[in-house]
Symmetry: C2
Subunit: 812 residues, 2 copies
């Protein structure tokens, strides 16, 4: 019924490294032959990791199999994933050997989904696990605990996660491993990231483009990535297509991506160990050669980096068949290869399987790994579970930040100066780049210039290691601005860069940041969990600047108009998210400084790039952004009394329209008492018990009153403001105007008209809501409708806004 | 100062099709030589399209340049994109030739960003534009109007959009062209989709993996895609990296993707025309050969499809330099190549540029295209702007739907049967697949089986055209289930399939649907605009089934727990979005039937896949899902009176917990009057004026009362319920429990405990909120806390839920 073939060491063959596939590659350099002792030990180490992996999935007790396996020793609920695990264990063991042999500074990125058992097993074997989790001791009791906690309530998940030592990549949502690997090695010239890519993961879009990261890797100043494409052939219930194309086609693909693939193929363990050892040594020799030629020899062309393709069976060394069905080397070994342990035959199968690793040769009676095997692991911070690059906060240095006040826009009065808000930030970022040449980068999809941050090109270039022409504009291998038309790559590189202890900022068109909505989710979840893990040292925040925003897509139109990312962000834990809507340049400077100093957050900043009126001088901006919300006295006329209405705005365009409406109202109905509030920090609107930045109710009530009508102009979808404030005393009197999914290619002012957020609609709203304007409301409304009619007529004739609207300035 | 070199026809050379690059490809088959007349006419047609493109970007008047160009003839605000346009015009003209020469059924997919001027120009030239927009006549007045409307208020955007005849791909957010192209040709054996891919777009993740769609294309039953990679070298401000790798590397990449690339490289127009004509004919011959061998010859291996790489200058035929700066063949020609038309030299430059196309040779005095050129376009539905496949509603056939009642779960009483809800749907979908063999497909990232829809494999297979092994499980070239580990590919293929007039359903893990959040945005925006365009015939809805949802990620944990896609969806226009949370199998059947019959919507269905109690028999389910919200009488004890509290639930797990809480309450406090409401159609909660499914206020108030406490158990983030109901009378009494971003690898019941949505917390909530329970509240709370304590203790000891909780059944 069962055809499990026990695992046996095989005689060592030295005729290795014959390319089995149809590859046309040059023969590799002579193989490294492992001695028979080396091979035996390496294989034993791998068996130990496999044993611990199976134990995690299945065992509740009897971790050393000192007794015959019994149903009671097995977990009641079997959860976890075996399929990818033996391959990961194999690679990890070989990287350990290479680290020791070549004194490497290496981290391990576990791309395949659900590789948790492998990484946990290996960090346990090397000792880093027990250092971080002292309750998981390196003895029989610790083994029992190690097995029990896996996929168990209060325990650990089945994939590489923040809880996993040495990990900077979550193995849940797939596709980002190679981006994280590249992100980690930028500006880390001595670091190598061994990045295992599952052949399932390799089907994702993000992974498919991330191979091209090699066009952005400077062999002088950056480290190296050693990709290991793990071709085990199957996903959950399907083959992986890269395993089902001719080998020459796969080789062509990887060559086309700019790599030199080394194929390691087979299933016979000792043969595979020799091939893998040789392949790893060869790849490392090539990496060192590339780095030497670039660093000493001045070689400047893009190198062809090596990579490894490991073609080994899914569920390798597991049961070949279960209940007569093919299991090893098939998708049936993806998760738990067999359940129903109430079936005694299944218990025997498990017992046979686990004993095939010969645990008695691996662990002493007390449960400790035998010393000759323990000696195979690297030591101290060379252990991949203890490498500080994978716990980046340990290496984090504060940025050297210039005084943001030095970049201020000088104002005589609110509205007296018109400038491009993000351009001011560009000058500040230029000096941040200049002063932090090795630990700060800017990321964006080809939009740094479009987003008005071009001052940075006074001191740096765009990163570019592909071919260059003499007339190219600011391209250099060591440029600090990473531009690629892939939001996934920008986000993934930045995440890797941050998680390995550096700083950065991602600037993006607002609408298209949704492309990485899911990556944001995963990073925010990662940070939330890190906050609960004492040994994870805080890292620099993920700073996202959204400009080219919904209101100013003059020549792009409806597809480019989407302010919903903020809604997406605020679903995540309040501890880890911040949203800022600075209305002008000086406020943006204060916010940027705050974000660049912060830790373990995702900061989303929405700011305009088009010429716009500037409102606050630097002192006012510091105060305003410090609190995050405040009354702008100069725009109010309710001083010393109660307002008739509270007008509020968040976002640059709503702020301008609201002020223009106030300007109209103060002319048309001068006795109307108006209070104007601007909101920079959106999270101040939430109750204090919901968000650390939330205003206490009494302060909120002082600002927004408990009974006056409130009209709120908001940058995004209006219901978010309701969602944030529905518990506030005066919520019933709150009316919000915002983007309501109406837009097209039109003029800037027409965009606000289409969404009824313009000054004229706002005046109508006020007239309707303030009791004392009741008598005048109809007349005011007609005046405003006339103006709207004139606007529409004008733009259709001239294609641009009426000068009186376009050039309106606050001048009170 | 200006070095614009006027465009001139060059002598025809017949020594064509020499591969300039470093390609190692076989020499192509003998070139098609255009005769000198053919070449001259083709070139004239191209010039006409280029002329119309420049005119759209710049001209306000004087469309035929009958007068010397003057500032007043030029638009005040210059918007639009030139760079990609001449290349698109070139390809379109050549496809027209091929359609006529070979009587092709072809659609044109415009991948490059902002290719609007080209597609508009070409559909105008072929006449399809004026048929759909009769005000844009084919004369001087129409030309003036055509130019004016472009990027003008009330006009059209700068990229291919729903407004563009012949388009099924929005040129705003990039990356989906090739997926849409493949989606359109599935089950359309005679159709060819010519898909132009920008080299900027090619950097995106979605595009990078979409090349692999050829592993899913059946040469017998599907049509063909002819990808044209347009290598014009630059994005907004940067080179494109595919243009900056050695040509042999690019060839290797495309070969590795499984294509045979044909390179067309150069900038000399007549030379390029000959090369392109030959390349197109060659590619078409290869396509026909592949199809013939598969269809007549029984060839079953995956073919190597041809593709074209067009390497031509960005801004081809535009000004070579502007103000001394390189412009043609550089990123400076990306948008408007030069502005500042107050500078008379710029006006002259524009005049020279436009006259270089020799408009007087192209249009007659009245502004009509000369007849010998007009004759070059295909006619009728062969015109790519009039091909019905690109206005899929025209071809849409209703699905043959079996009676969903036949698949019902039979119930004696609520809770009397436990089954897997999505498995019931699987049986229904099986018969939908069986009865609609050529216009219905299922899509999903390798999860059809995991999501319990496996019954479909009784009648079909997974689509697979890559290598197959004898032991493979349900793989076939003509399978109706498309599985690839790329949510982007699933979504993009389905969009293409729907927009070309077919039907489908995408099933996905709930958390990872965020990966295509941005694609959903764009599709929803597309539908919203289509609803405003009379000639766009409605297409089948995009149906998304979210299962493996947040509450049942037992072995996956926190990274797999995210119910926020619903929040994202409801930001879009109410006209185009629907969200359903069927609590059991019979309700799911009703909902699925409704969704599959609907048009121009995005339907999101969230349903469980784990064994769960079934509540409604089919009659009850039909009534309940028909209204979308309703009182479940059998769970209430407020009959004939007023309730003390309204308990409500949306989603399968909250429904179960709420019913379990009711069960507890009716034992503990039998005189408490409880009303239970279940919500299937989330949009019923919104006011009727906000959503067409919204309940009128009086009906809502009848259900939820105007003054009793409401406790609402919701599947997702609780604030969404507040957002939907904040205008309802009784909103102040509403308390919502839902997912609050607390989760890990744990038991199913512990997941609801962590988020305080479990029966015990719900009882505590009720006790706190109902005045008449005040005296008992502390005691009830203590009882519940004791139960929670026992639960926690139990799961940490046993790893699974207590039997009394796990096996609880409704039995009243």
């Amino acid at each position: 019924m069962y055809s499990f073939e026990p695992y046996t060491g095989r005689p060592i063959r030295l005729d290795l490294l014959v390319h089995k596939g149809e590859t046309s590659m040059d023969a590799p350099t002579p193989a490294t032959a492992l001695t028979s002792v080396e091979l035996e030990q390496l294989d034993a180490y791998w068996r130990a990791a496999n044993y611990l992996s199976v134990g995690q999935i299945y065992l509740f007790d009897n971790p050393l199999l000192k007794q015959p396996l019994d149903r009671a020793h097995i977990k009641p609920r079997l959860l976890g994933h075996w399929g990818t695990t033996p391959g990961l264990n194999f690679i990890y063991a070989h990287m350990n050997r290479a680290i020791r042999a070549h004194d490497l500074d290496m981290i391990f990125i576990t791309g395949p989904g659900h590789g948790g058992p492998a990484v946990v097993a290996n960090t346990y074997l090397e000792g880093s696990y027990s250092e971080l989790y002292p309750n998981i001791t390196r003895d029989e009791a610790g083994l029992r605990q190690l097995f029990r906690q896996f996929s168990f309530p209060g325990g650990i998940p089945s994939h590489a996660a923040p809880e996993t030592p040495g990990s900077i990549n979550e193995g849940g949502e797939l596709g980002y491993s190679l981006l994280h690997a590249y992100g980690a090695v930028f500006d880390n010239p001595d670091l190598i990231a061994c990045c295992v890519i599952g052949d399932g993961e390799a089907e994702t879009g993000a992974l498919a483009t991330s191979w091209h990261s090699n066009k952005f890797l400077d062999p002088r100043g950056d480290g190296a990535v050693l990709p290991v494409l793990h071709l085990n052939g199957y996903k959950i219930a399907n083959p992986a297509f890269l395993a089902r194309i001719p080998r020459h086609e796969l080789e062509s693909l990887l060559t086309g991506y700019g790599y030199r693939p080394i194929f390691v193929e087979g299933d016979e363990p000792s043969d595979m160990h020799q091939k893998m050892a040789a392949a790893v040594d060869q790849a490392l020799a090539e990496i060192r050669g590339i780095q030497r030629r670039a660093r000493d020899g001045g070689e400047t062309t893009r190198p062809t980096w090596p990579m490894i393709v490991l073609d080994s069976p899914k569920g390798w060394t597991g049961p070949k068949e279960v209940d007569g069905k093919k299991t090893e080397d098939y998708w049936r070994s993806h998760q738990v290869p067999f359940g129903d342990l109430d079936n005694p035959a299944h218990v025997r199968l498990l017992d046979d399987w686990m004993r095939s690793y010969r645990p008695e040769e691996l662990f002493d009676a007390g449960g400790a790994l035998k010393p000759e095997l323990a000696a195979l692991a690297p030591t101290g911070e060379r252990r991949m579970g203890a490498n500080p690059h994978a716990n980046g906060g340990k290496l984090l240095r504060d940025l050297r930040l210039p005084d943001f006040r030095d970049y201020r826009v000088e104002l005589d009065a609110p509205g007296s100066v018109v400038s491009e808000t993000t351009r001011t930030l560009g000058a500040y970022l230029r000096d941040v780049v200049r002063d932090n040449p090795d630990n700060f980068r800017l990321f964006g999809p080809d939009e740094t210039h479009s987003n008005r941050l071009s001052a940075v090109f006074e001191v740096t270039d765009r990163t570019w290691v592909a071919e260059r022409y003499p007339y190219d504009d600011h391209l250099a291998a060591d440029g600090r601005v990473m531009e690629i038309l892939s939001e996934h790559a920008c986000e993934g590189w930045l995440e890797g860069y941050l998680l390995s202890g550096r700083h950065g900022l991602f600037s993006c068109y607002e609408a298209f940041i949704h492309i990485i909505g899911s990556m944001f989710n995963q990073h925010a979840k990662w940070l939330k969990v890190c906050n609960e893990i004492p040994w994870r040292v805080p890292v620099a925040s993920l700073n996202i600047l959204l400009t080219s925003h919904v209101w100013r897509q003059d020549h792009n139109g409806f597809s480019h108009q989407d302010p919903g990312f903020i809604d997406h962000v605020v679903n995540k834990k309040a501890d880890v998210i911040r949203v800022y809507l600075p209305p002008d340049a000086n406020t943006l400077l204060v916010v940027a400084d705050k974000c660049l100093r912060s830790r373990n957050l995702v900061n989303v900043i929405v700011a305009g790039k088009q010429p716009e009126q500037q409102w606050l001088d630097m002192d006012a901006a510091v105060t305003h952004a410090g609190v995050g919300v405040g009354i702008w006295d100069w725009a109010c006329n309710d001083q010393g009394g109660e307002p008739d209405i509270v007008l509020a705005a968040a976002g640059d365009v709503p702020t301008m329209e609201m002020l223009a409406a106030i300007d109209l109202l103060r002319t048309l109905v001068p006795d109307l008492k108006i209070r104007f509030i601007n909101v920079v920090d959106l999270m101040t609107l939430q109750p204090a018990e919901e968000h650390p930045h939330g205003l206490p109710d009494e302060e909120f009530d002082l600002l927004f009153t408990t009974d006056k009508p409130i009209l709120f102009g908001y940058h995004g979808y209006p219901w978010l403001i309701h969602r944030l404030t529905y518990r506030r005393t005066n919520h019933d009197n709150l009316h919000v105007r915002g983007y309501k999914e109406e837009g097209t290619t039109t003029t800037p002012f027409d965009m606000v008209v289409l969404n009824e957020l313009d000054r004229f609609h706002l005046v109508i709203d006020v007239a309707r809501r303030v009791p004392k304007l009741q008598a005048q409301a109809a007349h005011l409304q007609q005046q405003m409708l006339d103006k709207l009619g004139a606007h529409t007529q004008y733009i259709h004739a001239h294609g641009e806004d009426m000068p009186e609207i376009r050039d309106w300035k606050w001048a009170r």
